[in-house]
């Protein structure tokens, strides 16, 4: 329990620094960056304490929960709760470690920005919300922090708000995330209406006891996944992530590579017990397809951060694929390894961009500092960056002895065994392996184009410098974590070859029971044995290693031949399949599709609402003043009479009645007397009828 309180302190510390920073940031020395970074390192230390304790205990079922009343209505209550278990402990370390290093890095990267203190305020706010997602035991709490994560992402993406592209990207990120959150919220509603609780434990009990089952459960699972799709940038809601690269690079590293996007995966990990077969398959397919699909886009991009962004999308797809195919631990494991190497890649790119920016600025060249076509040969100028970058590239490609190798391999093995059991899902391993190959190819393309060859803008060459210590230290720090040894160290041994072993797998146990009971398995006639679930990479492991090595190797080789030895011409390939190339280059036109359909529809619809409001409803009340407006609208469609009929409303009728009445008021007394007489007649006739 003490550990849990410690965790809560970890959570609240960034909030405190956020408040300090927002109100007093500008008045503190060094604009308060030391407060934020210091607090984060304290957090890291605390997280390591917790982790150490957990490792020491070595209890897979360790779980500490703190519940408290939040909203109580007499009839219905909404308690909140925190949880500390092994997954949380691991995540805490990942988040605080990545954050701490990136915060440190930011001191160098953001130097001199006019909103320097605000930047750190936002960073702490992000850390606060992200840690909240990790710590909450309660879906409601998770959702709150989940949205706050989105908010901080919005603030940080749009940090340079004077750039239109940045503010656009921020908005896009937030709204796209909201679409996902919409799903998640509906999922919560389903769960709550069936079980009356948001607590994960309570939901688990409810699912196990069958209070929530069948289609509703499937729907809930898929809806939660929808939230994850938004946050983890899965197809089709992946569009925001590449745009989010408009933010400062450390932000991209922190949020859009390492932590926030992983929240989606984390959520699925948390609710895995309520996934029905159908939902898992949906998750697997979306994940697999995203992995493959994003990789193809990354192939042709030239913006260094965009390539990484698509690669992130792709890697997140992997994690989803893992969760969907039952490789629960592997997915989480990949989350962790990916966090480090992707953060490293981003920070490395940041370092490059920083250097490029200053170099180009020095010679007044307005070329894009992020375009890899403008780079080349940087390995000589920026040694630390190069080497750390290479390590990360190897890791992401899944070269042996890197962290990426073991985690990715576990996933691929998982898909293979899954497909082995259900041959009809052969596409899943295909997606996985194809993406692995393409990843290797484009990552090495990136490395080759950036660090090898000659620098493209020769006059600026002299101005390229390695970044300062404050930026390179985090790079090295992350690079260290790309080695397999950190992960495979088991309880008492270090395993070199077997990815399925090590402390991680001992700590992270898949939930004992899932919603997938045998009777509900719709996609296979085969009846499962309870103990076979979830499918762990086992028998297919060796095939997987072999196959992935082969494909990754091929990717690297092709990349080498294309960009270093130039025996393969990329242009020729592009010219051979122009449509394919253009499709990839333009991100398969997803953005354009959304613009043409959803967004346009919303705008047209809202304009219609306004029109309806101004013209029809007001028109009915106001009457004649609007006739002309309506007339122009309907001109040529209806004739005058119809329109008059529509818009002459109550007020008009009143006016007409008044006018009509006054027509009798001719001023001639004899007309009045006729009216008098006719009035009498009318009354009598009226009464006689």
């Amino acid at each position: 329990m003490t550990l849990l309180y410690l965790a809560i302190i970890i959570w609240l510390l960034p909030l405190l620094t956020f408040i300090i920073q927002i109100f007093f940031g500008n008045r503190l020395p060094r604009k308060g960056d030391w407060v934020v970074v210091g607090a984060m390192f304290i957090d890291l230390a605390l997280a390591l304490v917790i982790f150490g304790n957990v490792i020491y205990k070595y209890n897979p079922d360790f779980r500490a929960v703190l519940q408290f009343d939040w909203i109580s209505l007499g009839g219905q209550d909404f308690p909140l709760g925190f949880v500390l278990d092994n997954v949380t402990a691991v995540m805490l370390v990942v988040v605080t470690l990545v954050s701490a290093l990136i915060f440190l890095y930011s001191i160098g990267y953001m130097k001199g920005d006019p909103l320097y203190s605000r930047y750190f305020a936002y960073l702490s706010f992000f850390a606060f919300s992200m840690l909240g997602v990790v710590l909450f035991e309660n879906l409601f709490g998770i959702y709150i922090c989940w949205e706050l994560v989105g908010l901080s992402s919005y603030l940080l993406i749009g940090f340079w708000f004077e750039k239109d592209s940045a503010s656009d990207a921020g908005k896009k990120a937030f709204i796209t995330n909201r679409v996902g959150d919409f799903g998640m919220f509906l999922g919560m509603l389903i769960v709550f209406s069936a079980l009356g609780t948001f607590s994960l434990e309570g939901i688990k009990n409810g699912v196990e006891s069958g209070q929530l089952s069948g289609t509703l459960l499937t729907a809930a699972g898929i809806l939660f996944f929808m939230g994850a799709v938004g946050k983890s940038a899965q197809f089709p809601l992946h569009v925001w992530l590449p745009d989010a690269m408009e933010g400062p690079t450390p932000v991209s590293a922190l949020i859009h590579a390492a932590t926030m996007v992983a929240a989606g995966v984390y959520l699925i990990v948390r609710i895995v017990f309520m996934l029905t077969p159908v939902s898992t398959v949906v998750i697997a397919y979306i994940g697999g397809f995203t992995a493959f699909f994003a990789a193809t886009i990354a192939l042709t991009q030239n913006d260094i951060k965009r390539i990484l962004a698509y690669s992130t999308v792709s890697q997140l797809g992997y994690m989803m694929l893992a969760l969907g195919t039952g490789s629960y631990a592997a997915g989480l494991f990949h989350l962790m390894t990916h966090a480090f190497f992707k953060a490293l890649l981003f920070l490395g790119s940041g370092s490059i961009i920083y250097a490029m920016h200053h170099a180009l600025h020095a010679v007044n060249n307005d070329a894009d500092p992020q375009n890899i076509n403008n780079m080349g040969g940087l390995r000589r100028k920026m040694k630390v960056t190069f080497w750390t970058y290479l390590v990360a590239t190897l890791a992401i490609s899944g070269v042996p002895f890197t962290s990426g190798f073991i985690s990715k391999d576990a996933i691929l093995a998982g898909t293979l065994s899954f497909a082995g059991r259900y041959p009809q899902h052969f596409l899943l391993p295909f997606f996985g392996f194809a993406a692995a190959g393409i990843t290797a190819f484009y990552m090495f393309r990136l490395v080759f184009k950036t660090f090898f060859g000659e620098f493209k803008i020769s006059e600026a060459r002299e101005h390229i410098h390695e970044s300062g210590k404050i930026m390179t230290v985090p790079l090295v720090g992350f690079a260290v974590f790309c080695f397999f040894a950190f992960y495979t160290a088991g309880n008492n041994s270090i395993s070199l070859s077997s990815p399925g072993e090590g402390w991680f797998y001992d700590l992270i146990k898949p939930p004992e029971q899932t919603a997938m009971t045998a009777a509900e398995m719709p996609f296979s006639e085969e009846i499962y044995e309870q103990e076979e679930l979830p499918a762990e990479p086992g028998a297919s492991h060796s095939y997987a290693i072999f196959l992935s090595l082969l494909i990754v190797g091929a990717g690297i080789v092709v990349s080498y031949r294309t960009y270093i030895s130039k025996t393969i011409s990329a242009e020729t390939w592009a010219a051979m399949y122009p449509r394919l190339y253009r499709g990839m280059y333009n991100k398969w036109y997803i953005d354009e599709f959304y613009h043409a359909t959803v967004i346009k529809l919303i705008f047209v619809w809202s304009a219609l609402c306004r029109w309806f409001d101004n013209v029809i409803i007001d028109g009915i009340v106001n009457g004649s003043a609007r006739i002309t407006v309506i007339f122009s609208w309907f001109e040529g469609k209806f004739d005058n009479i119809v329109i008059d009929g529509i818009v002459n409303g109550i007020a008009n009728a009143t006016q007409i009645l008044g006018w009509f009445t006054r027509q009798f008021q001719t001023g001639r007394i004899q007309n009045y007397l006729v009216g008098f007489l006719i009035g009498i007649f009318v009354i009598i006739i009226f009464r006689m009828m």
């Binding site: 009143t654 006016q655 009645l657 008044g658 006018w659 009445t661 006054r662 009798f664 008021q665 001023g667 007394i669 007309n671 009045y672 007397l673 009216g675 008098f676 006719i678 009035g679 009498i680 009318v682 009354i683 009598i684 009226f686 009464r687 006689m688």
Partner: protein, 496 residues
């Protein structure tokens, strides 16, 4: 047979009228003496007469209901109520007229005669008394309408009023002749008693009743007998219009109450305050429809008016419609609401007209455009007018609101929901034009730069205040008024 003793005995219940008659004579004599005429004595003489008459009227409240002078008129609470009402109205009009008609003896004589006529209208039970009293009020009003002889509009108003009135009276008399023919009786109480027993031809009854309604209705400005109203109100001098808007109109209502409830319908039982009309002419529904049409027509026609007097004329038509709502269910509550409403109507309508008169004395115009930005030039009068208009609209916390509530309450109590809804919609419509005046005063910029405060005659300020206080007070504490009307609602004895 009637003997002299009876007549002499009855005279003591006739003091209010006698006082008034004597005052009229004094005024006429005073008018003839030049030295008196110069000294503003006549108005105060009239006031004294009216107040004395009120005094005697109040004393009549203690008297047991009885018929006087061989069933010609009746002394009952209702009649006394209206006597006091008319005398009060006339007091206000006399005061109001002082700046306009300083030394016009005929004017006050005619006004007092009209008041006497209204007294009689409220208490007549005999056909010929009804006709005579109507005619007294009519003739004096025709002349009053044309009191600015040399003004074209004024004399035109007189002509129209006169012709319309003459025809209406003729039609009414023709209608009465049929009632007489059916029953052989000349007292409306008796006519009712006879017709209750005899089988009657509905069409005949209907036509005669409508002919009679035409005579009464034109005084009330009830549709379709309202046509004269806007023209006459616009053309007549403003104090006279003010008088018309309440005096003869309410006299018509008094007569209508008498005619409808004592003449052509009977109370279900002694204890239940519910009447049913004789014959099978469903007068209630007819009145309901007429009421709805009257208020709708008045309100909608008022929407486009630019002349305030004309606008208020249409508003008077609309208010006639509201008041008629009280007749539609033939219940005590309805009549009670009517009585309440006419008092409230006296305050607010007089108030509005007096402000308009006061402003017109200075601006020489009643056009609404002239009222732009007036709030800064005559803040008190504009405030008062706003209150009166709010009250006329029927928005709390004014007496007008309570008046409407009681009317609506009576209607809803009898489950005539459609009429209530029509009434409600009409209130909304009326809001529009009443607030156009308020809008002009407060919301619009003045047309010209002469921002001098208006010098309003003191008597107008005084009268405005006098009317303002009850308009608000009775909006919050209306129990006494209601108790008075309930007390006055005693007119259902039948003839011996």
């Amino acid at each position: 047979m009637v003997d002299a003793d009876n007549i002499i005995k009855d005279l003591q219940f006739f003091y209010p009228e006698i006082v008034l008659t004597v005052t009229i004579l004094f005024v006429i004599i005073a008018e003839l003496i030049p030295s008196i005429k110069k000294k503003l004595i006549i108005p105060f003489l009239s006031l004294a007469g009216l107040l004395l008459s009120i005094f005697f009227s109040v004393r009549l409240f203690d008297v047991q209901e009885r018929f006087l002078f061989s069933n010609m008129i009746i002394v009952d609470h209702l009649g006394v109520f209206f006597r006091i009402f008319f005398a009060l109205a006339s007091v206000i009009i006399v005061l109001l007229s002082i700046p306009t008609f300083k030394r016009a003896g005929e004017y006050y004589a005619l006004l007092l005669t009209a008041t006497l006529g209204m007294y009689l209208m409220a208490s007549s039970t005999h056909i010929i008394m009804i006709a005579l009293s109507l005619e007294i009020v009519g003739i004096t009003c025709y002349v009053l309408a044309g009191y600015r002889r040399s003004e074209r509009r004024s004399s035109e108003a007189a002509l129209k009023y006169m012709l319309y009135g003459a025809v209406s009276t003729g039609v009414m008399l023709y209608g009465f002749s049929f009632l007489y023919g059916m029953s052989g009786e000349v007292n409306i109480y008796k006519i009712r008693d006879i017709l209750m027993l005899e089988p009657i031809d509905n069409l005949l009854l209907l036509v005669s009743v409508i002919f009679i309604l035409a005579g009464i209705g034109y005084k009330i400005a009830m549709v379709p007998f309202h046509f004269w109203c806007p023209d006459v109100y616009e053309g007549a001098p403003t104090p006279v219009t003010t008088f018309f808007s309440v005096g003869p109109k309410v006299a018509g209502i008094a007569l209508l109450i008498r005619f409808v409830f004592a003449g052509i319908s009977v109370q279900v039982s002694e204890t239940v305050e519910q009447w049913i009309s004789i014959g099978d002419i469903d007068l209630q529904f007819m009145l309901a429809v007429l009421s709805a049409i009257t208020m709708t027509l008045g309100n909608t026609a008022a929407l486009a008016q630019r002349n305030l007097k004309r606008l208020l004329a249409y508003s008077c038509i609309a208010h006639a419609g509201y008041i008629l709502m009280g007749f539609t269910m033939f219940t005590g509550a309805g009549i009670n609401a009517v009585l309440f409403y006419v008092i409230v109507y006296l305050f607010m309508n007089f108030g509005a007209f007096i402000v308009v008169d006061g402003i017109a004395l200075r601006l020489k115009s009643e056009n609404i455009d002239k009222y732009r930005g007036l709030a800064s030039r005559a803040p008190y009068l504009c405030f008062a007018l706003t209150v009166f208009l709010i009250s006329l609209t029927g928005i709390p916390p004014t007496a007008g609101f309570i008046g409407k509530v009681l009317l609506f309450a009576a209607v809803i109590d009898s489950k005539l929901y459609w009429l209530a809804v029509v009434g409600a919609v009409n209130v909304v419509v009326s809001l529009y034009y009443y607030f156009r005046i308020i809008k002009a005063m407060y919301l619009e910029k003045p047309i010209s730069a002469d921002e001098l405060p208006l010098a309003i005659p003191r008597i107008h300020i005084f009268l405005t205040t006098l009317l303002l206080i009850p308009t608000i007070y009775f909006g919050l504490f209306w129990s006494p008024l209601r108790e008075w009307t309930t007390f006055s609602l005693n007119f259902m004895l039948s003839i011996d």
